[in-house]
Amino acid sequence: MRQAKGFREAHFAVCPLVTSNVRSAAEGAGARIIVTLPATSRIPPQTARPSRPGFMNRFANPGQFMRLSSVLLPWLSGAAVLTLTVGIIWGLFYAPADWQQGDTVRIMYVHVPMAWLASLGYFSLAVCGALSLIWRHPLADLAALEIGPVGAVATFICLATGSLWGEPMWGTWWVWDARLTSVLVLFFLYLGHIALIRAFDEPARGYRAAAILAIAGAVDLPIIKFSVQWWNTLHQPDSITLTGAPTMSMTMLAPLFICMAGFSLGFAAVVMARLRAALMETRARQLLSRRHADREAA
């Protein structure tokens, strides 16, 4: 073990390209994942196939993910940029002003997608947690590692834009009502997850602890959703419901949906890119450590 640690330090001295914050991610992944990247053409892809059967394993193969994402990522990024450009321009310049809020209502076109992504991001963390704890999915931990910071940024932007909307409309930057407080709790859950998953020298322990936090924290999601119905709040109830017609003019709803689609595509693209990078960093680390091991053996 001590010897292994020695290698690890040596690798990072050799390869300054791998930054320190990436180190923990790479170490953890290295411990759990057998990366089957077609990095050298000498390795035929057939050997990359998992030998274990089971429905999860079809997606469990990091090599499979790399192949799929290399095709998907450019399309996803392109679609995100295009949709977002259309949505933002529509929302800022072509959507009508609200009859009583005026142009300030345009903050909605960034605030609502961020609120949606904050919840969706944490939900996907919880799903990754379940995949990791129950099915021991090898990609789930690495995905959780990469989703966390992106979701936290979305939650922060949701809170900040909400504040910028609240001050001119409500007359206050912040109140401790159930909706605002439960979203702040979500932000702290994200921060806790980000810290916990990187907290241990042995990454597998951090992964497990973070997975438990992600699943337990998911209790906050229905509280956020229904807070405006269960308790009276300063925050207004949802305009878009499953039961009734949306209490929002279609002329505003259309750009809102386009912005939500654009930000969601962007979120997916960023997470996918980060996950690809994390897998490549892991692969680079593995190659380096193998070389060192071979040298040591010689």
Binding site: P96, Q100, G171, I215, I223, W231, L234, A245, T247, S249
Partner: protein, 181 residues
């Protein structure tokens, strides 16, 4: 392989039960503290259970149409208005600048304390806008056609107006004007 499967299933049920237990616990706790989680009290609640004087509370409700009186005391603007939840109304006095969204028929949350005479002295007034969003033209069309008076509460059923475009609203508006004139 079978052993592995059963272990997976056991882990699945463990997680499901833990999450279920946590969910029920949270629901019970939230239910128990429900009265502390609410952001404001309605006028009828305040009338039914009057809080002690000098205790700061948040009073929420709709500004009664025709009740708003504005005056100035030296430099500070003073506003007097009634807040109602449909069952009871409480007169509110507020010294300071009201938020832009303040109007008759708007929901507001006033922060302050009850006085002995049953009136409310607010130190802060927040506007609480509702979940309806519509362009000015549509709101005008609804108002002119007599379907909605914002001074008396919420907009009519969303299905009746949310597909209306601004051009249609303008057209409808001119028709109403012609019929009226």
């Amino acid at each position: 392989m079978k052993r592995g499967l059963t272990r997976k299933t056991r882990r699945l049920w463990l997680v499901v039960f833990c999450l279920g237990g946590l969910g029920i616990t949270t629901a019970l706790v939230l239910n128990a503290f429900s009265s502390n989680i609410v952001f404001f009290m309605a006028p009828s609640q305040v009338r039914a259970h009057p809080p002690g004087s000098d205790r700061t509370i948040r009073l929420g409700g709709m500004v009664v149409a025709g009740s708003v009186k504005r005056e100035t005391e030296g430099e500070t603007p003073i506003a007097r208005f009634d807040v109602t939840d449909g069952q009871a109304a409480i007169p509110v006095r507020y010294a300071g600048i009201l938020p832009d969204l303040f109007r008759e028929g708007q929901s507001v949350v006033a922060i302050g304390e009850m006085k002995g005479d049953g009136s409310f002295r607010a130190s802060e007034v927040l506007a609480k806008h509702d979940e309806t969003y519509m362009p000015k033209e549509v709101a005008e069309a609804l108002k002119r056609s007599g379907k909605w008076d914002p001074r008396f509460g919420k907009a009519p059923d969303a299905a009746s107006w949310d597909t209306m475009t601004r051009a249609e609203a303008r057209q409808m508006d001119t028709k109403t004007a012609q019929a009226g004139g």
